[in-house]
Symmetry: C2
Subunit: 499 residues, 2 copies
Amino acid sequence: MEKKIGQLKAILAEISDLSNAAALLDWDQQTYMPPGGAEARGNQMALLGRLVHERATSSKLGKLLDELKPYAASLDPDSDDARLVKVTARGYEKAVRVPTKHVVEFSLATTLGQQAWVEARAKSDFSIFRPHLEKIVPLRQEYASFFPNFEHPYDALLDDFEPNMKTADVKAIFDDLRPRQVELIQAIARQPQVDDSFLHQPFDEKKQWDFGVQVITRFGYDWNCGRQDKAPHPFTTSFGIRDVRITTRVAPGFINSMLFGTMHECGHALYGQGVAPELDRTSLEGGASLAVHESQSRMWENLVGRSFPFWQYFYPRLQETFPQLAAVPLEKFYKGINKVQPSLIRVEADEATYNLHIMLRLEMEIAMLEGKVEVKELPALWNARMKEYLGVTPPNDAQGVLQDIHWSGGSIGYFSTYALGNLVSVQLWEKINQDIPDLQEQIRQGKFEALLDWLRQKIHRHGGKFEPQELVQKVTGSRIDPAPYLRYLTKKYSEIYHL
Amino acid sequence: MEKKIGQLKAILAEISDLSNAAALLDWDQQTYMPPGGAEARGNQMALLGRLVHERATSSKLGKLLDELKPYAASLDPDSDDARLVKVTARGYEKAVRVPTKHVVEFSLATTLGQQAWVEARAKSDFSIFRPHLEKIVPLRQEYASFFPNFEHPYDALLDDFEPNMKTADVKAIFDDLRPRQVELIQAIARQPQVDDSFLHQPFDEKKQWDFGVQVITRFGYDWNCGRQDKAPHPFTTSFGIRDVRITTRVAPGFINSMLFGTMHECGHALYGQGVAPELDRTSLEGGASLAVHESQSRMWENLVGRSFPFWQYFYPRLQETFPQLAAVPLEKFYKGINKVQPSLIRVEADEATYNLHIMLRLEMEIAMLEGKVEVKELPALWNARMKEYLGVTPPNDAQGVLQDIHWSGGSIGYFSTYALGNLVSVQLWEKINQDIPDLQEQIRQGKFEALLDWLRQKIHRHGGKFEPQELVQKVTGSRIDPAPYLRYLTKKYSEIYHL
């Protein structure tokens, strides 16, 4: 069986190497590739994708997994090898249910869909994107139909991002969250608004960049195993656990983009850099799920980076870098970066309103999959819900239903992981603050070693060994739960807005 | 047969896509990759290399080529399809003669060899590199033994870089060249030396970069289909004909590195960008040979970039960028950038002495392959030859036998292509100046469109359709010939040094 495990690892190493090569092609496409390179890049990525798919669905892999399952069952169920067989088998069994014909059709529809979306958003014209989405939605329905064992079609899609997470669970969490989060926002809206005008002024781009680097270096980002580049839509990617790269965006007239974007991506990257070396080049080399990944990025961005102790340490340094902030006191700065303001664009939303953007999308995705909403109805429905949940109405579709790339790439089922990540981040945060009682004081001193070490031990090193609910349960003692998040939001904003 | 040509092209497109993906991985490794990424990158590149090799030696490809040969023979022999079958068959027939075992051994030996060479050069300690080269040389001899049809073992190696070029031809060319080039250098040495001290002073790095960009933009480098980055050892690479990238090095205290390095790499890139679109994603998408490629880089670097008319246009602009040159007259600047000074390092050698560096290496390579020189004898032999040919003796092996990476990567047979490229560049140059009688005047006005257009039509668009000797013959009416180069050097340096 040792030999068979070795054979399995050899196949997985090849899949990993191909996937990581493809990830580099994608990184380059989003950072440095000249426009002329796009067509060739598409061909190269399609080929690598096909080679990965062939290997991930090969009968050789299937046979090996069948042979290994009894052996894996005899091991400690939490051992690397037992988990490797389990997680790999899980992925294999899903992948082989999808006919190659569907994979090809989906790939084509989403490639064209993304191109059309770019144009549609630029022109704020939903009609350009509509026929593409009208192909993508039935393809996603068809995909779900390959998995009749799932209760709800959305389950099959969500499961690809959040292993074993059920639509019913997500709905229950959101149903609990929505009214209370709406209530909080309304309470805030009745209070005088905080001033954040000082965040909107010219900030030297090079100095912004350097400040971000200074922050994440203190967080513990390992520059020997990563780098930062600029990208229009920041992301984190990795080509093995010793090459985990981040990207950021620097807006010359608004410091928040760089500041919180850099910390956010660093949170993802610290996860990637912290996976145990033994899991490298296997199906466990990634994180537990998108939500768990997002819990890490949101923790460093919000729970650390938008906290008062953090700025007690960093604000004097920021003021030194940007003397135009000299006259803005720390308390005012802190309130400014935490301003709550219902707005149109998800990626720019504050902590208090963010989840409502997600809930709106989740509801629309479920309705589309269930066939209860047609694609052509989306723009009007979007605007109505925005008004209902956030009190704002998009003036056009570019700032409404066309703002996100996800649906054009077929990523229906993805959005909810963002909101779940917020919830998980606070569940972990409560536990961390129990385990490290002086954490806030450490942060006040710019010290993050104990925090990172905790995350490394409890979350990062496990890579993809555990399912998200399982991991959260293991670490915090309960499943994904909105209560800590609501407590956190309520306490934070009660102070800032004197509720 | 149309269908079979289509099948051939599908296989070649896949090989091209994989090779271009591997090229991007290599580009990244040489420009941006953090140190931690090296091991994973090695695995990824080895895998892509294996996938290319499998496809390039598949029996399916062999069968297809056999079926297509009679058809190709019925076509115009210069047509794309006829050449495609011919060139692909040529590569296939070579590749299948090499056992996979050898490919793997060679790959391992050169990976380790390159690592050892880096350390050996840093420590100037040949003994670190010696055992590796003692493995690589026999592997190259073994490689040559797979091709008993070649007269000389060096032929088999050279043929990979210069299709159908024979060692005897190269030797004859160099035997003709060596005494006359030595004589020229000695004549120069008897004259008063020119002053180039003004080239060695601080030059702002950003301004250097921008000036280089300005120059190659005028040359016609297409930024929509390429970009420039920094690399410790500048190179040009491509991932398809619409993504051809260059790299450069900027030395803060010596402007020549950036200036002539940038023009050199641009010369390669203009070739890559000029290949006919119909040849993209086939075995004809590259250039005719390394020597023909080098003829392009050397032309733009030397025949254009180190010429008087070029600087009549650009020197006022350079002086504006760098006011510290204001007091240096054009004539003095021109002589300074063309200073002849026998020196230790090939890549820093001037036009007059460069080829002697190559001849020295060629002789040593041939002697090694013939078994007439042992690896352990190389350092002493190197130093003796340097003294004999150039009158200088390396103070250590880092500046002597360890200076070049080529042997550590198994690239024995490569060096001669540099010298051949110099010769070809001037053969083409003579023809161009006949075809465009006012070319020098155009250059004086900073106009390069006619020159680039000539190169596009005569050289670039053909990609790899023609063998180097064939192409040179086709364009200039004679085979590769050292006479024009000697004429050029003699005339140029007679003027500069008043011989």
